[in-house]
């Protein structure tokens, strides 16, 4: 009897083990009149304050809740008028005058005027967190009259108009100051609520469970078709998939690319696919002794099996990067050097560098499900040229911290532009002022490259800028501070009933809710 009990216990423990990470989310039932659009996502959000949030997941909520002076137009990299009807630029390119619409109200009914625009940008610059990095040259904002705002720049900054369409450019209701605590400009309050003029307002946020958006009754634009949008947190990708197939959710964000093939067989589902500007690349810490020599870094770039990664990890849903700027953004160089797997050449380069018995740590986290697979492939590729790689899996927060401090040999990340300008790649990744999380995560310093990208960021002439960035890219490819892996396709499985979704490559993981229907 006792032994049977022991046996039974074993079985239970085992099932318990396997069930550890299953989420206990039960589907919500919706009333017939108001069918909400339900989106499944894998993690709860951080702060949704436009002056604080740096995460596309959080922008999913704040972007439709706030308006900006300009918006990205459809799926293109151009901008179109939004709160600003029109704008003028001074001859020296330093003064921008915006003429605002006069019919816009915040969700609480107060009118949105020039003072609110000035308040929002003053607040953004005063809080001085990540989103303010998009406005490096902004000197000050003045409200000329009720519907006219004047932006003064310190230096010419070519992507300025495009940066106004980023989430950080959202116009915040000055009434948030009523909720200010310890001079935080209402950061604490806005972290979990919205105070904008956008089509939707955040109605409810149950931590670790769901967020609910409802239509803003005072919205100035055309009335959205969807009354309610629910973002549901479903951690387990298998649970997301089952919920999508059953119809409990309409969109599932975190189904691994491996499983999309099976989902395509389901007649109720469709997989939204489009090229994106999101890239996936490996940072080589150029300050570490083993990686200081560009020849070693070139050898690593030659050792990686790009095609193997594309065919297997991505199932063909990605293309190999050609230099830092993704295909589809101006500044992309179709004839730039592209590394491909060449073990002999890699070995020869290592020999020239006089390196043998090199051991490197490859740090990654489970933030993106494909990183572990890519890390293992690269580990095996580098073993072929005699470099021993130890994999080191850590929490995402710890990974970010170590990247910021430069405490790694190799690590991996993704990057997608927030505004349509190669500045987002060239200046962030290679300017030696931006060491660490700011963008230069290879801790790469080349005086010539510094000079070129800084010059390119200070002139408005696009042809000249392309030429400068081209020269910089050629130098960079020889220095190989990153392993440029893949540019991925954007894929989003959804129910066929979902209509009107438009993907903009600047707004990765975000939705145009006001134009969607179900």
């Amino acid at each position: 009897m006792k032994r049977i009990l022991v046996l039974a216990l074993c079985v239970f423990t085992l099932f318990g083990l396997a069930g550890c990470a299953q989420s206990a989310n039960t589907p919500q039932t919706a009333s017939k009149q108001d069918q909400p659009l339900v989106i499944a996502t894998s993690a709860d959000l951080g702060s949704i304050d436009p002056a604080v949030a740096m995460d596309n997941a959080a922008w999913k909520i704040s972007y439709p809740a706030y308006d900006r002076l300009v918006n990205f137009k459809g799926s293109s990299t151009d901008v179109e008028p939004s709160l600003a009807k029109s704008w003028d630029i001074s001859a020296d390119g330093l003064t921008w005058t915006f003429h605002l619409r006069d019919d816009v109200k915040f969700a609480d009914g107060t009118p949105l005027d020039a003072a609110a625009v000035k308040f929002s940008f003053d607040r953004l610059l005063k809080i001085k967190k990540g989103p303010s990095d998009a406005f490096p040259s902004l000197e000050n904002v003045t409200a000329v009259d009720k519907n006219t705002v004047l932006f003064k720049l310190k230096t010419v900054f070519p992507p300025f108009l495009s940066t106004l369409a980023t989430n950080g450019g959202g116009i915040v209701n000055p009434a948030v100051m009523k909720h200010e605590k310890d001079a935080d400009m209402g950061q604490n309050w806005l972290a979990t609520t919205t105070a904008g003029s956008g089509a939707y307002v955040l109605a409810e946020w149950v931590p670790e469970q769901s967020l609910k958006l409802t239509v803003n009754p005072n919205y100035w634009g055309s009335k959205p078709k969807l009354n309610t949008i629910i973002i549901k947190i479903v951690k387990d990708p298998s649970a997301q998939r089952m919920a999508l197939e059953k119809g409990d959710v309409d969109v599932a964000e975190n189904i691994p690319v491996d499983q999309l093939k099976e989902l395509k067989k389901n007649p109720d589902l469709t997989i939204f696919e489009t090229p994106s500007l999101m890239v996936d690349y490996v940072y080589l810490n150029t300050q570490k002794a083993g990686l200081k020599n560009p020849k070693v870094r070139q050898a690593i770039s030659y050792a990686v099996d790009y095609q193997g990664i594309i065919d297997n990890v991505w199932q063909g849903n990605a293309t190999q990067m050609r230099g830092p700027i993704p295909n589809g953004l101006w500044g992309y160089q179709p004839d730039l050097l592209q590394y491909s797997r060449n073990v002999e050449k890699a070995k020869a380069l290592l020999q020239e560098a006089g390196v043998n018995n090199l051991t490197l740590n490859f740090m990654y986290s489970d933030r993106k499900p494909w990183w572990e697979q890519e890390a293992q492939i690269i580990q095996s590729n580098l073993a072929d040229i005699g470099i021993k790689v130890n994999l080191q899996k850590i929490a995402y927060a710890a990974q970010r911290e170590k990247i910021d401090k430069g405490d790694f040999d190799l690590t991996i990340g993704v990057w997608s532009p927030d505004y349509a300008d190669p500045y987002m790649f060239m200046n962030y990744w290679f300017d030696s002022k931006n060491f660490g999380l700011a963008g230069n995560r290879a801790f790469y310093k080349n005086d010539e490259v510094d000079k070129l990208v800084r010059k390119a960021a200070s002139i408005n002439n696009q042809t000249e800028r392309i030429e400068l960035y081209k020269q910089a890219q050629q130098l960079i490819m020889q220095d190989a501070p990153y392993v440029f892996l893949v540019q991925k396709k954007y894929q989003l499985p959804m129910r066929k009933s979902v209509q009107g979704f438009v993907f903009n490559p600047m707004l990765e993981d975000m939705y145009n809710f006001q134009a969607m229907s179900k």
Binding site: S238, Q259, N312, Q376, I377
Partner: protein
């Protein structure tokens, strides 16, 4: 005579025999893993990823195209090493601490036992998790973490035993002759406490393997690309809907091994512990 005895034993304790056989087979598999595994457990065959069980890959392949059968065979090494390693470390430290605590008594006893009480107040998995995370996630640290958590069990057991042994005449006699404390503890106390420690250790191996697998499952134990069963179940879980074999076979391997050790441990207790003898 001998044979007769075994036959009697097998009849009396059939499950113990099954358990012993399971352990012997798994031990043998671990020992000759390089000889019997058809593929290199770490070799990637990217073109052959996620294949179902079949001719070339007996139990199918994982998402990197590695042979699951070979990985499970090599996994036996890690799991056995984890199980035996954990109970050995915990058993040795626990026995020394327990006998010292029981024999010396007084303040030493008080301090050691209260420390053990504190450790026992935590659920063992939670404490192992915290320790493993603090030491840094890798396989060796996860074994150390679980071993530390398991020490109090042995300390209590040995201390209780020591309290009764130290009143025995031979101990008193040794003391009268002026034997040192170290000599008495190592020559008299510990040898007389070994039987229950052995029982506890064999019973504990199964649980130790399970906790070590659980740590790997949540990413605090063996790191990729190591072929560890718990880690394999963890990754395989994502593929469960389309590739059932990936998580299932390593799960079965854990199950069989743990059952084997538990049945064996039960038998050892029945043999060595007079209270359980029918």
């Amino acid at each position: 005579m001998e044979l007769k005895y075994y036959r009697y034993f097998a009849k009396q304790y059939p499950l113990t025999v099954v358990g012993t056989l399971i352990i012997l087979i798994i031990g043998l598999v671990a020992l000759v893993a390089p000889l019997i595994s058809p593929h290199d457990p770490l070799q990637l065959h990217l073109a052959d990823r996620l294949l179902p069980p079949g001719h070339t890959y007996l139990l199918g392949t994982d998402e990197m195209g590695r042979d699951l059968f070979s990985r499970i065979i090599y996994g036996a090494r890690l799991s056995l090493a984890a199980g035996v390693g954990i109970v050995s470390i915990a058993g040795i430290f626990g026995t020394v601490l327990g006998s010292v605590s029981g024999f010396l008594g007084g303040k030493t006893d008080l301090i050691i036992m209260r420390l053990m009480d504190i450790m026992l107040a935590f659920p063992s998995l939670v404490l192992a998790l915290a320790l493993s995370a603090a030491l840094g996630p890798n396989f060796r640290n996860s074994i150390l973490a679980v071993a530390v958590v398991k020490i109090p069990v042995y300390v209590r057991l040995v201390r209780g035993q020591t309290l009764s042994v130290k009143e025995k005449h031979f101990v008193k006699a040794a003391q009268t002759f002026g034997a040192s404390k170290v000599w008495i503890i190592s020559r008299h106390i510990i040898p007389n406490c070994l039987a229950p420690v052995m029982v506890q250790a064999t019973l504990g191996i199964g649980e130790a393997i399970l906790i070590a697998a659980a740590l790997s499952f949540i990413g605090l134990g063996a790191q990729p690309p190591a072929a560890e069963w718990g880690a394999m179940v963890s990754v395989g879980r994502t593929y469960l809907l389309d590739q059932w074999w990936y998580a299932t076979f390593p799960g079965i391997a854990i199950f069989i091994t743990v059952v084997g050790f538990n049945l064996f441990g039960d038998g050892v207790r029945d043999l060595l512990d007079p209270r359980f003898r029918h």
